[in-house]
């Protein structure tokens, strides 16, 4: 974690406090009167100016046509704040905690949205550097990681100008998410350790998940990949099944960052090798700086554990 070089000025501190005060915390957000803010847009101000001009034209020339138009625009301006506010009020959002992401790809954060009425053109945007280009919507958010590590995503801006763009209603949300960002996947050398050298317990895992002898069919798990899909069963319309094989216990592989390389680069190579290994059904374990060891395993949970461990490796090896 990098520290700020200078202590924040009073103005910055006050601003931070204000932002904290204005933002909603918690994984769930319900938008209501207390956490929604609304102000006219620049277009709304121009609209007001136009009302004045058209009304003036009308009364100067004693024509009621422009007067009627100006009053219609005024009526829409008066309706505007209520309509725009209503477009967000009552909306409920819940952040689903995402799994670990990679430093080079935007992280997908699923949102569960609940609303009694249809909403139009609700826009979301992460506040923070480097985030503005990603398309967001009420179903899923994309978050661009600044790099490997464990990050707080920062504040989310939820705003709308519907229906006429005269007012902008917004709210800040700071979901308390700890996002684990594993290194980017970059092919390269890794250190493969022999089983004995770093597997002191020498545990024997009862055999399963080999690929030699067909044993049974069982419902397909997503992490099994396409290699084990029972295509015949699928083609008969009986659903997604995976073929189970019994056989030799697969080789257990321990991986460590390649020595002699810069740590971040070595971690990127390690991450790539880990993902490749897990995808092809290898049992992979990790030995990481700082005496962190993850025993070989498989499955989604194991994969998450490995990636989180990779994300959490301290930048400087601990003494």
């Amino acid at each position: 974690m990098a520290f700020a070089e200078r202590p924040p000025s009073r103005w910055q501190r006050w601003q931070n406090q204000l932002q904290q005060r204005l933002s909603s915390q918690g994984l769930e957000l319900r938008l209501h009167r207390r956490n929604l803010y609304i102000l006219p847009t620049a277009f709304g101000a121009a609209w007001l100016l136009l009302i004045a001009i058209v009304y003036l034209l009308g009364i100067q020339s004693r024509s009621n046509g422009p007067v009627l138009l100006a009053l219609l625009m005024l009526a829409l301006l008066l309706l505007g704040p209520f309509l725009t506010h209503r477009n967000l009020e009552g909306l409920e959002l819940r952040c689903l905690e995402p799994g670990p992401g990679y430093a080079d790809t935007p992280l997908l954060i699923q949102l569960a949205t609940r609303s009694a009425v249809p909403r139009t053109a609700v826009r979301l945007r992460w506040l923070g550097p480097g985030q503005s280009q990603l398309p967001q919507n009420l179903q899923q958010l994309l978050w661009q990681p600044p790099g490997r590590g464990i990050h707080l995503p920062g504040r989310l801006l939820i705003h709308t100008t519907a229906p006429l763009g005269l007012f902008r209603c917004w709210s800040y949300w700071q979901p308390p998410l700890q996002l684990s960002i594993a290194p980017a996947r970059r092919p390269g050398p890794v250190q493969e350790l022999s089983r004995a050298s770093c597997h002191p317990q020498g545990q024997q895992v009862s055999a399963s998940s080999g690929s030699d002898n067909f044993e049974e069919l069982s419902p397909l798990r997503p992490e099994e990949g396409l290699q084990r899909v029972a295509w015949k069963t699928l083609a008969r319309g009986q659903g997604w099944y995976g073929k189970r094989f019994s056989g030799e216990q697969p080789s257990e592989l321990w991986l460590a960052p390649a020595p002699g390389l810069p740590l971040e680069l070595a971690l990127e190579h390690l991450c790539e090798r880990l993902c490749r290994g897990l995808a092809s059904g290898e049992r992979v374990g990790l030995v990481l700086p700082g005496n962190v060891e993850i025993a070989p395993g498989e499955g989604q949970r194991h994969r998450y554990a490995c990636l989180e461990a990779l994300a959490a490796v301290a930048s400087q090896p601990l003494p």
Partner: protein, 641 residues
Amino acid sequence: MHQTQKLLLASQVLLWLQLLLQGQLQPLLAIALPALMVLQLRPPRGALPRPWLLALTVGLLLGWGVSQALGASNGLLPSVSNLLWLMLGLQQLEAKRHEQQQRSVLLLLLGIGLAGLGSQGLAASLMQASAALLALAGLHSLESDGQRLLASLRRVAILVAVALPLLVASFVLLPRLEPLWSLPEASSGRSGLSERLAPGELASLVQDSSLAARVSFAAAGPPPAEQRYWRVLVHQRFDGRSWSAADNWPRPPAPPPTTGAPLGQRWIVEPSKLRQRPWDGRSLPLAGPKTSLQITDLGTLESSAPQGERQLYSLATGARSTSWQRLPPTAIDLQLPAAANPRLQALGRQWASEATDPEARIALAQQWFGRQGFAYSLEPGQLDSLDPLDRFLFETRRGFCEHYAASFSALMRAAGVPARVVVGYQGGEWQQPAGDAGFLQLSNSDAHAWSEVWLPERGWVGVDPTAWVVPERIRRSQRLSKPLPGWLMAVATEWHGLDYRWQVWVMGFDRQRQLELLGQQRWQGLVALAAMALTLAGGLAALWRPWQHSQDRARRCLNQTLQLLKRHGYQIHAGEALACFCQRVGQAEPTLATELQLLAAIYEQWRFGPAAASSGAALLGLQASSRRIKACLARGRRHSA
């Protein structure tokens, strides 16, 4: 093409059409605007390159400048409006980004407002309103990205409908401001009357059937045809060729305004360059804050309101303001250039020697006109001679009202009878839309000229020599135009009636009308604000219908039944399923058992079953079941009583 652009283009097309139909566009714009629209629709090479756009802008602005220099437009406001409409078309051409399109919506609304200055008829107003609606729909589709075109239109129609009560409340109640400063007077006018009458200079008279004025009467029905003479101008000066108004006629002090007299006529006069307004020569103008009308010694009604504006005024019935009729003639009323029209002068002198009484001289003139074979013609040809009236009276004998009135008045002066020419309107078309008292519609082709002679016993008396020649023109009181087929006539009458009401009640609703309607109220501003707040709240309530969003119809029906059961002592517990509750109540009230089971089954099917189950039929079943339970409970109560 994006939805927003389509909607804005449609709005522009409507605006252009309205401006074209009302003749508010300069020739350059009438062509340039549709060309710009075509460019919007199909830009060459996908999008117009920037240099092209620049060249187009500069070219069109130059064209506008040149057409201004050539005098294409009259007045500042029409020129500026035309410039703005031109810029609107150009702006729309380059508007691609969000803010640019927002800007073009604003420009479009301003353009519609400017169009509303020039034309206020019902048709024009409807077109302007539709254009505004389309522009708003464009704005809506811009803000709610990805909505379908019709959805945006529908949504905006709902919004405008909700805003409408608020609009009406603010229009009627908000204190209306008077103009803050006076605008330069427009030099254009559309009335068919001119300040100079020169028979013989016009080869033919173009029938301009555009609207000049409308008048409604407090008394039922239109006045008889012989009385439909509406005087506007009086010409006294005759130079041998043309008649014109005398200069420097002394203005009498303004008479005290009439108040309290019953309303006789209500006039709406289209913009005219004349200060004089049409009237019947008998009534008195009613006082109003804006109308400062006064009757001159010549019997014309003069207004001090700015020219080039539509004006509304009322005349009192019963009050006979005929003092101008009694004012004796002056030397100018007998003035006749000695050199011009010798044969006319000779004829006049002959009549003077034949009869001493002015009325007898008029009778001689009538006989003479009857004998000479005069014909009424709108195309009499030019009388390019030094003595045009001689040429008309003794050679061509073909002409329209101007020829007859001018030569008769000159003849009377030659015969020693003071005479002058009156210009105004005669006749008019009676419009009787359903459910309305009706009104008389005067168009510019109803413009007429007649004579006025001085009879010592009766004062100034109107004489219409045209009626001697073509009596049917006066008697029919109809314009000499092709009649429409019957059904179309009925439609036209209804339309004219709607238009009239729109102009009187909406476009003519000014400070004076507001005061008439509301009275002098100290709290008017407050009342207006309160009414606006109320209509705003009502509109929002209607828009949101919270009672409908929270519950669907099946749920409401169920809730009513549950309320009913609660009144009979059966309350559903928290967490109790509907089926369990129904079973529990069924055990206590065996007569209801089956019905309640049915209710629970239908509701659960509706709520949780496949989509087909939640159809209208299921809802009907639910409602029927609910009704039967209600009836059953009522019966049970009667039995126990």
